[in-house]
Symmetry: C2
């Protein structure tokens, strides 16, 4: 019922094969608490910080620079922690829905097209993003159940590491 | 500031080493849409269903049996999809905060203790759970940033697969 609007072939998606190299939950916490949250995940779960990218738009009145994305290794997986910034690039707008799942793939356009053909709603254009989870191309798809999926090319430019 | 109440050693947690074998985002969708959601994730992202456990408490008036947990392989990772059931065993109560992250470990008690020593809040006792993400022992910790972490022993009893 939530899948109306598709025009056939949704069960198998588009014909183009898409593979994902990583699935990363991203937690968006009330700014500027992301730094505290990273410390908590280190202490609580033994997470290891592998990279941190700061938000480029630091406001003068802010005491702390904001975290665009901190990547933590947790067990065999990775999670991302970000300050929730209420601007146009934010994947979500409120901490109450403060998580997205980032999918990494080499073919962002095909992945977005397949998700849309299955009933997802693409939000915005695929673009070279200044977005929290990605350094490269990124598309955003909201699924019929309210979950936001960020479909990104693999991060290659997160050199701004502050361990 | 959110870490008050701890009594020392929080930065490094407790002394006992804890390792996690898996990190699985769990999406809790408005019941009974989990089955539809699974179909969507298959069509949209090429996810493969590896197991499905139904909710044992089927209500007479429900047309569809509810999904306690469906595990999907998505790229190299796993996600869980569940119907959000408003009962005492539910990890969260509303779709608006409808996700948790499941951490699998062989030592649930030690992992919960470490998370609590770092400032997390344990909710309920560690128990043999009928909970959505776990077949074995499970503890639940809410972190200072609002994220619910289910700390579980590895799933061993999810034989109720309906592909």
């Amino acid at each position: 019922m939530a899948l109306e609007g598709q025009n056939g072939g949704a069960e198998n998606g588009s014909s183009k094969a898409v593979t994902f190299s990583a699935v990363k939950p991203q937690l968006l916490v009330e700014a500027p608490k992301a730094s505290d949250a990273v410390q908590f995940y280190k202490a609580a779960f033994g997470a290891e910080e592998v990279s941190r990218t700061m938000h480029p738009k630091r406001k003068a009145e802010q005491e702390l620079p904001l975290i665009l994305s901190a990547e933590l290794k947790l067990g065999p997986s990775f999670i991302l922690v970000s300050d929730l910034v209420n601007d146009s690039s934010a994947a979500v707008k409120t901490p109450a829905t403060g998580f997205v799942i980032c999918l990494e793939t080499d073919d962002v356009e095909a992945a977005v097209a397949k998700a849309v053909s299955a009933g997802g709603v693409s939000e915005g254009e695929v673009s070279e993003g200044e977005v929290a989870c990605c350094g490269g191309r990124v598309g955003k798809v909201k699924d019929p159940y309210g979950v936001v999926w960020m479909i990104c090319s693999p991060i290659k430019t997160c050199a701004d590491v502050e361990a």
